[in-house]
């Protein structure tokens, strides 16, 4: 199971690299990398918080760390795309954009939360910092705002994603309330 998931989560990277470097059929590589890495990262991170909701049917809880780390991995590629290809390592530009533009700093804050979580996911550090891992919910809110801001106009498909995200949020909240009341 572990290896199956591993291969599954690497697949988007392999397909994207194949299109970019072998087929070379992508007109706008920077935008394409943004889209692929952004989408995969978002899906994996939301999936990681849904594991407790679907454990009755499939129990993937023990792969939560791996799924979360893969989510971070794609967010990291997203970040590298911004710093290397988009900003071409112009650090004054990166810092200025990150401080000035809500679209950029919302993404940046979310990224640094993920970075913190990735670092503290090591066993010994996790013991100390796991209570801060609740920050994932804050990061997911920021990611959603970042995703909505990236759109020039919202169409049916994007509204569907937002409704799905709200539904996940609702069920997570419900789960928390039930948990609190039963203790």
């Amino acid at each position: 199971m572990k290896y199956l998931l591993f291969v599954l989560f690497l697949l988007p990277l392999v397909v994207t690299s194949y299109e970019l470097f072998i087929l070379q059929n992508v007109n706008d590589p920077i935008k394409y990398i943004y889209t692929v890495t952004g989408v995969i990262s978002t899906v994996l991170l939301f999936f990681s918080i849904c594991l407790s909701m679907i454990r009755k049917w499939v129990n993937l809880i023990k792969y939560r760390k791996m799924i979360g780390l893969f989510g971070f991995f794609y967010a990291f590629l997203h970040f590298l795309n911004f710093t290397i290809l988009d900003a071409q390592l112009d650090f004054s530009f990166i810092i200025k954009q990150s401080l000035d533009k809500p679209f950029i700093y919302i993404g940046m804050i979310a990224f640094f939360i993920l970075l913190f979580m990735a670092i503290t996911s090591k066993k010994n550090l996790f013991k100390k910092y796991n209570k801060y891992h609740k920050l994932i919910y804050f990061a997911l809110i920021l990611i959603t705002i970042h995703f909505v801001m990236a759109q020039k106009s919202l169409t049916f498909i994007q509204f569907s994603y937002i409704i799905l995200i709200l539904a996940i949020g609702y069920f997570k909240l419900l789960q928390q309330i039930i948990k609190r009341n039963t203790i």
Partner: protein
């Protein structure tokens, strides 16, 4: 002293192909093709480029600035045409529902005689010329396109607007059968029909083109067939596609993107590396097909030809 000056894109007389040679070009090409067909490599190269068959007669642009053209494949497979979809890669496959047969353009407003123009007549009326222009999208991508068309100023002179006309307003065709997103009433990407406008002096500028084709052949549907506007010093969204209506007015037209989001899109939409979009910088651009970015030029590189139009204006406010 009056001096006759050549425009940047005009070629000198001795470079112009004589009429006989031009008329005989098919025979000439066939001879040439026949002689290389044995080797096959050139034919293969042509096929790889997926070049269209030229069907328009036009004077060539000598490309004095040596702009590097994007391929036909790139230009025709990366399109913003929200009437079909917001997905740039899918427009090409969806655009077949656009029917350009018997296309007409309605002309009304402050004009001597409102009328309906027939597209095929326009092609006969105005000599076509090639214009190799940079094309810069507000989303940050850009390309270089060899458009074929005629100057908008020529059409305006023919239409004879009244002196009270200060602006020209364009509309894309509204037809729910041809444009799937126009059928979406609640979740449509933008309001239709798509509207754009220019100040009259911008419209009369010699760079402003009514384009009917590219790479020597009729305009592909996904690129705005049969006729579209090209305003090379402005962001791409000003270059409205599939024009079905032209009006002359004394009020600044509210263009589609300004209506959708006035904080992010203005009426002028001049390419300006110094004025950022609220979400991203406009200082650089991604040329289609390239991994890295290049600097964006003021007025997209057409500063010499158009800067005078905006003298005294604050382009951070009139963006």
């Amino acid at each position: 002293m009056y001096k006759l000056t050549k425009k940047d894109w005009e070629i000198s007389e001795n470079e112009v192909t004589s009429k006989e040679l031009f008329d005989n070009r098919r025979t000439f090409l066939k001879l040439g093709a026949a002689s290389v067909i044995a080797s096959g490599s050139i034919m293969e190269a042509l096929a790889k480029e997926k070049m269209p068959i030229k069907n328009l007669k036009f004077t060539e642009d000598p490309n004095p600035n040596n702009l590097i053209l994007n391929t036909y494949e790139q230009i025709t497979s990366h399109n913003n045409f929200y009437e079909f979809t917001t997905n740039q890669r899918k427009v090409k496959d969806m655009a077949h529902t656009l029917n350009t047969k018997n296309w007409t353009i309605k002309v009304d407003g402050l004009v001597e005689k409102p009328m309906t123009l027939d597209f095929d007549d326009l092609l006969k009326k105005f000599a076509l010329e090639e214009r190799i222009y940079r094309f810069r999208c507000v989303e940050g991508w850009s390309m270089v396109v060899p458009w074929i068309g005629f100057e908008l100023s020529k059409l305006i002179k023919y239409l004879k607007p009244l002196s009270s006309a200060k602006y020209i307003r364009f509309e894309t065709l509204y037809d729910e059968q041809m444009f799937p997103d126009q059928k979406n009433k609640v979740f449509n990407a933008i309001d239709y029909p798509y509207v754009e406008g220019l100040r009259m002096d911008e419209a009369m500028n010699e760079l402003t083109l009514m384009a009917v084709g590219l790479y020597g052949s009729s305009m592909p549907k996904q690129n705005g067939a049969p006729i579209r506007l090209i305003v090379p010093w402005k962001y791409g969204f000003k270059s409205i596609k599939s024009i079905a209506k032209i009006s002359f007015t004394d009020k600044e037209p509210l263009n589609t993107w300004q209506k959708e989001n006035p904080k992010e899109y203005g009426f002028y939409a001049n390419v300006n590396p110094k004025v950022d979009h609220p979400r991203w910088s406009q200082a650089r651009e991604r040329v289609l097909g390239k991994f890295f970015k290049q600097n964006t030029l003021m007025f997209n590189g057409y500063e010499k030809q158009v800067a005078h139009l905006y003298k005294g204006m604050d382009l951070t406010k009139d963006f």
